[in-house]
Amino acid sequence: MTARRPASLRRRLVVQLLALAAVLAVLLFAAVRFSAERASEATLDAILGAAAIAMAEEIRSAEGGAVMDLSPGTFSMLAAMGDERIFYRVNLGTATLTGYDDLPLPDVVPAALAPHFYSTRYRDTELRIAAVSRSLRLDTRPTALLVLLGQTRAGQSTIAAALANRAAAVGLVVFLLAVPLSLLAADNLLRPIARLAEAVGRRGARDLRPVRAATPTELVPLVSALNSFIARLRGTLAQTETFIAEAAHHIRTPLAVMRAEAELALHQSGDEANRARLRRLIRAVDDSARSAGQLLDHATVLFRADQQALADIDLGVLAAALVERFRPTAEMKDIHLALVAGPGIKVRGDAVLIEAALRNLLDNAIKYSPGETEVALALKREDGRAVMRCRDHGRGLGGAALAQLSSRFQRGPNVGDVAGSGLGLTIVTEAMAAMGGRFTLEPAEDGEGTCATLSLPLPAA
C-alpha cells in the first residue's frame, strides 16, 4: 500500500496560477499573430483588389472582341507589393480571353467592380486571388467580364512568421514573469495559514488557551472549530478537577471523623496493644489524607499550568506569608524556620504555582528534619534569575537522583516512617516547568541535609 502524498494547497495554487498564465500567454500569442496576419492581409488585399479593378477597367470592347491596355501604373502598384509572382486570367463570357486559363475560378460571381478575394493552391504555391467582374457591351450585348488577379504571398508569410515569433516571445515573457509572481502570490495567500500553524505549534503541551491570532475571514471557521475543540478539552479537564475536588471533600470529611475518634480512643485506651493499633490507624488516615490532598494539588497545578495566568509577583511577600503559615508546623518539632530574602525580587508567574512549589519544599524540609534543627529559605538574584533555596539539616536524599524522586509516586529509599504520597516533587517539577523555572535538588555542600533550589527567569528590566 502506498501512502498518497498529502495534497499541498501551495502546489495546487501555483500549478493553477501557472496554467492560467500559460493559457493567457497562448491566447496572447494567437491574438497577436491572428490580428497581425489579418492586418497585413487586408493591406495586401486592398492593393490586389485595386489592381484587379484597374485591370478590369482597362478592358474595353472593340470590333469583334475586347482590348486590354495595361497601364504601367497598374503593374507598378503590384510591384510595390514586393517580390511576388503575379498570375492573371481574363474571362469574357465563358471563354478565357488571356492569361492562365487554369487559374481557379471563384465559387461565387463577384458583384460588379467589388473585388472578391479567395485563397487557393495553384502550381504548388499558395495564391491569393482577387476576382473582379464587370459587364462589357460586346456587339451591343452585355457580356460578363471576369478578371482574376493572383499573387503569391511568400513575403507576407515571412512577415507573419516573424510577427508570430515576436508574439511567441511576448507570450513566453508573460509566462516567465507569471512564475515568480504566482509563487509570491501563493506564499502571500498561504502566509496566514502558516502563521496560524506556527501559533498553534509553538504552544506548550499544556497551553489550552483559545487561539487568538488574527486570521483572514476564510480561516475563521477553522479557528473557531479549533477553539471550540480546545474549549471542550478544557471543559473536560475542569470537570476532572472539580470531580477530584469533590471526591477529596467526600473522602476527607469521614477521614477527619476517623482521625478525631481514633485520637480520642487512643487517649482513653489503657491497653498498649490497642493503642499501637490506633496509632497505626491514625498513620493510615494521615497517609490517605495526604495522598488525597496531593492528588488534588497535583490536578490543580496541572490545571493552572494550562491557564498560564501570569502576574507580577513579589517573591519576598509570597515567601514571608508562606513561611508564617509553616511556622506553627515547624514549631511543633522545635524547628527554626528562617527566611532570608533580598529586597524586591519580582518575577512574572502564577502565584498559586510558585506557592505550591515552595509549600512542597518547605513541607518536605520540615517533615524529613529531626527536631531542633534549622530550615532556611533564602531568596536572591543569581545569574539573571530569581533563586529560592531551601536548605534543611534532615536525612538527605539517600543517594537518590532528582529525576527518580520527581517521578510520580516515587519516594526516596530513606523515607522511613514519614508519611508521604510521592507526589510532592512531581508537583514542584510541574509547577516550575509551567513558568520556565528550574528545580534542582542536591545534598547540602556543608554538612548534613538537602538543598532544594527553584529558579525563575527575572523579567527584563
Binding site: A245, A248, H249, R252, T253, L255, A256, V257, M258, R259, A260, E261, E263, L264, L266, H267, E272, R275, R279, I282, R283, V285, D286, D287, A289, A292, G293, L296, D297, T300, V301, R304, A321, R325, R327, P328, T329, E331, M332, K333, D334, A351, V352, E355, A356, R359, G371, E372, G416, D417, V418, A419
Partner: protein, 221 residues
C-alpha cells in the same frame, strides 16, 4: 479556651468537640451559619473554627461579614477541599489561618497559639501552678516572677502536666501527644524533655515526679 465550632457534619463536629474537650477547652457547636450567628450574639469566644461548605451558605461569606462587622474573634478555617487556590482564597477573605481536614489536633493547637499570639494574646491563658505561672502563648514559665523560656515541646509537655495536676501520665501517653504519629521517636525522648522541664522548674515548688513503671506526675511540694 472557648471555641465556636461551625461544622455541618454532626459526626465530625461531635468528634472535634470531644477531642478539644480532652485538652480542656470549652466548645459550642453550630451546624449552620444561622446558628453560628446566634452563638456569636450570645457569647464571647476565643476562637472560631469555621467549615467552608455549610447548608445555608458559604463559610467565606460568613467570614467576610464577620470581618466587616469588625468582630475581633480570630477565625481558623477548616477546609476539606485543600485546593491550592482555595487556600489563598480563604486567607484573602480574612481568615487568620486554615487547616485541611483531617487535621492533627496538635497542629490545631499550635495554630491556635500562633493566631492568639499574633492577636496580642489573652490574659486568661495564664495558668498558675504552685508558685509557677505558666504562659502557653508566650511559652514561658515564671518562677518567682522570673520568666524562663520554653521550647515548643517543653511547653506542650508542661501544658499536659498542668492540665492534669497530680495525675500519673504514662510515657506512651505523653509520647502520643508530643510527637506526630509519623515521626520516629527514640525511647528516651520523653525522659530528655522531662529532664529539661525539671531544670526550668528548679527553685520552684512545682516538681515532676517519676512514678516507677507508670510514668510521671506534676506535684506541688
Amino acid at each position: 479556651m472557648r471555641f465556636l465550632l461551625v461544622e455541618d457534619n454532626r459526626e465530625l463536629a461531635a468528634s472535634v468537640a470531644a477531642r478539644l474537650a480532652l485538652d480542656g477547652h470549652g466548645v459550642d457547636q453550630a451546624h449552620s451559619l444561622a446558628q453560628a450567628a446566634d452563638c456569636l450574639a450570645a457569647a464571647e469566644y476565643d476562637l472560631i473554627l469555621l467549615d467552608i461548605t455549610l447548608p445555608d451558605g458559604d463559610g467565606r461569606d460568613f467570614l467576610a461579614r464577620h470581618r466587616r462587622a469588625e468582630h475581633q474573634t480570630p477565625v481558623i478555617v477548616m477546609t476539606a477541599r485543600s485546593a491550592v487556590s482555595d487556600r489563598v482564597d480563604v486567607l484573602d477573605t480574612g481568615a487568620d489561618d486554615y487547616l485541611t481536614k483531617p487535621f492533627d489536633f496538635a497542629e490545631l493547637q499550635a495554630r491556635c497559639r500562633a493566631v492568639l499570639r499574633r492577636r496580642g494574646g489573652a490574659a486568661q491563658t495564664l495558668r498558675p501552678f504552685a508558685d509557677v505561672v505558666f504562659d502557653p502563648l508566650a511559652a514561658t514559665l515564671s518562677v518567682n516572677g522570673q520568666p524562663r523560656e520554653l521550647r515548643s515541646r517543653e511547653m506542650r509537655l508542661f501544658e499536659l502536666f498542668v492540665s492534669a495536676p497530680g495525675r500519673i501520665l504514662s510515657k506512651e501517653h505523653l509520647c502520643d501527644r508530643l510527637f506526630s504519629f509519623s515521626e520516629p521517636v527514640s525511647d528516651n525522648a520523653i525522659e530528655v524533655y522531662v529532664g529539661r522541664l525539671r531544670k526550668k522548674l528548679a527553685g520552684s515548688h512545682a516538681r515532676i515526679e517519676t512514678v516507677r513503671g507508670l510514668g510521671y506526675r506534676l506535684t506541688d511540694t
